[in-house]
């Protein structure tokens, strides 16, 4: 073992530090405790990861015990150990889900961008539904095709289209399909391919 002179002094100094603090009466009853376990008394909710199709089971931990006066907020997510596929594991995306929920880029309010405008304007849900329904109805009434050129009944609406999601629930997908078809829309697709 080669020790330079400088290292020797350094070691001495470190040694002094160690014994000196004790010698000079600093408390040796220093706290030696692990960090408080952060999930104690949080509320657990089972969920499914919204990313890929492995559909890992999740346990979400939220603040508050669902009492009336407490607003729940999820502060931690880990894999569901009972789930037969992921058995408690999560990938880097899944392990980061809490940051997705709380992303600063989550949308909070309905918004409207007027033709040529450079900005969003906040609107109410009622205004948003009213605007969208009006745009749909005007376009549908104008362009709905009851019969094709050969006189066959086709009852289709080709000038408005709908792209459905890849991560919304079956229940959302089902009602979306039901509504879209009732209007006669055929320009209809989902994210199955991309």
């Amino acid at each position: 073992m080669q020790v330079t002179r400088r290292q020797f002094f350094k070691v001495c100094a470190a040694g002094i530090g160690t014994s000196s603090i004790a010698a000079l009466g600093f408390s040796t009853d220093a706290l030696a405790d692990v960090r408080e376990f952060k999930l104690t008394r949080s509320t657990e909710t089972r969920n499914t990861c919204p990313y890929c199709s492995v559909s890992c089971g999740l346990v979400m931990y939220s603040m508050g015990d669902k009492a009336k006066n407490a607003e729940s907020s999820i502060f931690h997510i880990e894999g569901d150990p009972d789930h037969p596929v992921n058995r408690g594991t999560l990938c880097p995306k899944g392990a980061a889900l809490v940051d997705f929920i709380h992303s600063p880029d989550r949308l909070r309010h309905p918004e409207y961008r007027a033709p040529g405008s450079r900005e969003w304007k906040r609107i109410s849900w009622d205004e948003a539904f009213e605007k969208v329904a009006r745009l749909m109805k005007d376009d549908r009434d104008k362009n709905f095709m009851a019969k094709n050129g050969e006189g066959a009944t086709v009852n289709r609406w080709l000038t408005t289209g709908f792209l459905a999601a890849s991560a919304s629930s079956n229940e959302s997908g089902y009602i979306t399909h039901k509504v879209v078809r009732s209007t006669g829309i055929l320009v209809f697709d989902n994210q199955a391919r991309v």
């Binding site: 909710t45 969920n47 499914t48 919204p50 990313y51 890929c52 492995v54 089971g57 729940s72 789930h83 596929v85 990938c91 880097p92 995306k93 980061a96 929920i101 992303s103 600063p104 880029d105 989550r106 949308l107 909070r108 309010h109 309905p110 918004e111 961008r113 033709p115 040529g116 450079r118 849900w125 948003a128 539904f129 329904a133 745009l135 749909m136 109805k137 376009d139 009944t153 086709v154 009852n155 289709r156 289209g161 709908f162 890849s166 991560a167 629930s169 079956n170 959302s172 997908g173 979306t176 039901k178 509504v179 078809r181 009732s182 006669g184 055929l186 320009v187 697709d189 994210q191 391919r193």
Partner: protein, 806 residues
Amino acid sequence: MTNHWVDIKNANVIIVMGGNAAEAHPCGFKWVTEAKAHNHATFVVVDPRFTRSAAVADLYVPLRTGTDIAFLGGVINYLLSRDKLQHEYVKAYTNAPFIVKEGYEFNDGLFSGYDEAARTYDKSTWAYEAGPDGYARLDVTMQHPRCVLQLLKKHYSRYTPEAVSNICGTPGDTFLKVCELIATTSVPDRTLTFLYAVGWTQHSVGSQMIRTAAMVQLLLGNVGMAGGGVNALRGHSNIQGLTDLGLMSNLLPGYLTLPGEKETDYRKYIGARAFKPLRPGQMDYWQNYEKFHVSLMKSWFGNAATKDNNWCFDWLPKLDKIYDVLQAFELMHQGKLNGYFCQGFNPLASIPNKAKLTAALSRLKYLVVIDPLDTETSCFWENHGKYNDVDPARIQTEVIRMPSTCFAEENGSLTNSGRWLQWHYRGAPPPGDAKPDAEIIAGIFLKLRDMYRKEGGAFPDPILSLTWDYDIPHSPAPEELAKEYNGKALADLADPKDPAKAVLRKGQQLDGFIQLRADGSTSCGCWIFSGAWTEKGNMMARRDNSDPSGLGNTLGWAFAWPANRRILYNRASCDPSGKPWDPNRRLVYWDGSKWTGFDVPDFKPDSAPSEGMGPFIMQPEGVGRLFALDKMAEGPFPEHYEPFETPIGTNPLHPKVINNPAARVFRDDMKDFGKSRDFPYAATSYRVTEHFHFWTKHTRISSILQPEQYVEIGEDLAKEKGIKAGDRVKVRSKRGFIEAVAVVTKRIRPLQVNGETVHHVGIPIHWGFKGIARNGYLANTLTPFVGDANTQTPEFKSFLVNIEKA
């Protein structure tokens, strides 16, 4: 997936090809590592790049992007020429002995019936020869020159190891090593599983790549077996469910199909779908089509759907063509689309050729975006400097953006790749005023319905009559919707075996699709999901993870469609006498009086083996198809065609037919395809493990783990171009350019193809002009606007670029 995630552990050989499971599906990939650790499985990765899947593979096999059919065709040739087949399986469970009609031909890259002007085939010769009894003819000796096995041999005899190596750039000895390994699974007690993803689908010949793998599996007897199958690893959490629910141009829920405009006669519509059996004694399950269809129409239109109005058949829109997302943006680009909805979908980033997409969106009158996040699509009109250089003042599109909840803030079910519907629960309220998707759709619909009620307008009947008996009309509960798609009895349902008894009383939830009727006495919103919410309650929320067979079929966990079955075609896991091929993979078996076992039999439960019913009960002939008949656009056997942008400029098998002759190409896009003299490098775009599509760039931890856009190139190309790791580079295609940091790696090697050296450039997709990760260029600036001939899935995986130091 024909099988499911946990079942991968039962495989002896695992091939990841056309995908990168370790990076895109890490937690499902665990079952690969389990198979290696506990089943001593051999794991092979076939990919242009040495991926993180390859990092733990026993064998990494390079191939040029877009040449998978050549590779797998070579495997078929190897298996046939060395007689490495599961003979009994091939004879009994595939259409190998079926005789094909006279007139079927394949010459110089084209099958019989090609119409060059229309870029389509007349498929009338792609059919079986009918015998005097009307059924398809067979030669059980499989010697007839027109039997499928002989045609198969002839077709793939051109795919020699040398030809494979020449097209794919795979070293010959490595290719043979893979063939030998695959061939070891032709015995009954060894299985191979293929795990693929959009690395296969995103080609102009994507569907046929998958078919080639399926054919390999049929020849080896690996379909229906535990640890076997052809397994699509789907990319999004519920894209399986959304597809099952038929949210596509031409589908209705449960893979029912919309009528075309020439099918305005209801009986003809049903007749064309309830296929006649092609062999005697076959189950031919689609014969029940009308039961599924009528129950759907009762679900949607309730009392308005009657026998007299053909269950509202006229109300269904009739197709003149398929309106997939590429067609939609083409129409938008031509100014023929006025309005567009994007629900949880960011097409500006996800569809090829960003320049075209921006121009198209700018021609819309209105765009409605429903999303939890601030997406590029909703902000396509915003100027973000070099990343989105548009002038808002010149874009006249009205945009309405509606915030939706995310998974954590709602109840509901998602369907995973293994077809499991799993229920999840709300854990917290959404931020701000965000609402669940179902509530947003209800909000729009109720306004629209009110307007039609008050004002009248174009054909309001289906809108006014749509069933809407939800307790809170503006907020249909997920539980109510799940019960609706499961279906219920609209009248007392008599027991077919004892008409005096009722199996279900009016108003009760159905036990499954077996109870569906075509007389209007049942409703069911999605027949394949029937059984998900029965009188016993929510079957999707079940949490019994016990696994009595040890094969991983946890039948008490959630609900798998169809009928809680975990492995499709599982009847084929037994020999024709009903005994499992492999006693260690006892999924189902014939116990002398019925089919039973550790999975729900994919079969008529009381059909004795002696009755000769085939295991592929959805097919009119009861067997698996090596010859696809008329089901594929570009031919009954997969053939290698080059990507639309090919680095070698020819097709070594048939230079006159280079690309897929049946792929749809819009005229204006043809001029946007690049040539190898200007864009000499084969590019491929993909996900990386740290990110999920265009979502996680909004997520802090994910952005920390991979903060900035990069491209990957091999050391040889880097040296040639004077590029060092960490340099900024410009990657250009015929459609535009991106700039990114260069990752220079040993993991991408030049390949020798048809006498040329082909370099690959790897392009991860995750960055854009929105999000908290470092902003970047949308990678689809580069990709070509052409899709697979059957599904129109864009060719994201094979295109041409050039690269230079920025």
